[in-house]
Symmetry: C2
Subunit: 117 residues, 2 copies
DNA sequence: AGCATAAGTAGGAGATTCCCTACCCGTCAA
DNA sequence: TTGACGGGTAGGGAATCTCCTACTTATGCT
C-alpha cells in the first residue's frame, strides 16, 4: 500500500499502463477469470506473444500485476493496489459530478476549494 | 454523460490524457482554483505557451475541460464527467482491495466473477 | 542427452508524444 | 487603424510506444 504522498513517476506509470486497450483487457481477464498463464491470456488477442509479453512487463512495472512461476509457466495475477490509489486520486474530483447532479455545479465551478465550509 | 457501454477509443483518450503530469496538474489547478484563462494556468509551468495549448487540446478532446471565450481570453473549466466514468470503470476492481483487507484476497483471486453469488 | 514447450529479450520499423520556434487570428485600446 | 496582447496552428526534432521477426533461456518429457 502506498502512502498518500503521490509519487508522480509512479502515477505516470499507472496511467500510462491503463492508456492501452490491450492492457486494460488483460486486467479485465485477470479480474473475471482469475490468475492465468501467458498463453491463456494470449488466446484472447490478435497479437504475437512477444508483444503481449511487453504489455505484461508494462503492467508489472506499474504494479498492476504480479507473476508467480509455476514450472515453465508464469501465472499472472491482478494486483489492485495501484487502482485503489487511482480511486484516492479521483476523490477530490467527486464533488464536481455529485454537486452537478444536485444542480449546484455552475456555482461551485466558480468557487475554489478553499472557500468551501 | 456517456452510457454504460464503454467506447474504447473514448476511454483511451481519457486515460492517455491523464498519463501526463502536466495535464493532471492542469486538472488540479482547475479543481482547486476554479476556471481560469490560459495565461494564469501557464504561470504554473516551466513550458512555452504553445505546448500548454496542446495539452489543453488533449484535455478538451478527452472531454476533461471545456473552454468559454470571454473577450480575447479563453476560460478553461474542469469537466468531470469522464472522471465519473473512470470511477465506474474502477468499480468491478474494488473487491480486489476491499476483500484483500478482510484477508479473503487469496481465495477470491482464484475465483471468477461468475462464481460469486 | 535431446527435443518440445512457455515465455522472455534483442533489435528494428512506423506511428505517436512532447517539446520547441515561427507564424496566424481575433480582440481591445489609443 | 495601428499596434499590443491572448491564444491557437504549423512544422520539425528527439524520444517513446507498439508492433513485428528472430533468437535466447529455462523447464519438462522421453
Amino acid at each position: 500500500m502506498t502512502t498518500t504522498g503521490a509519487d508522480v513517476a509512479e502515477e505516470d506509470r499507472v496511467f500510462a499502463a491503463l492508456a492501452n486497450a490491450t492492457r486494460r483487457e488483460v486486467l479485465r481477464l485477470l479480474r473475471e477469470e482469475g490468475p492465468q498463464p501467458v498463453q491463456t491470456l494470449a488466446d484472447h488477442f490478435d497479437m504475437r506473444r512477444p508483444s503481449l509479453s511487453e504489455h505484461l512487463k508494462v503492467l508489472r512495472e506499474a504494479g498492476l500485476v504480479s507473476e508467480q512461476r509455476s514450472g515453465r509457466q508464469r501465472i499472472y495475477r491482478l494486483e489492485a493496489a495501484p487502482l485503489a490509489d487511482l480511486q484516492d486520486w479521483l476523490h477530490p474530483y467527486e464533488r464536481f459530478w455529485r454537486d452537478r447532479l444536485k444542480g449546484l455545479g455552475a456555482l461551485l465551478d466558480r468557487m475554489p476549494d478553499d472557500d468551501r465550509t
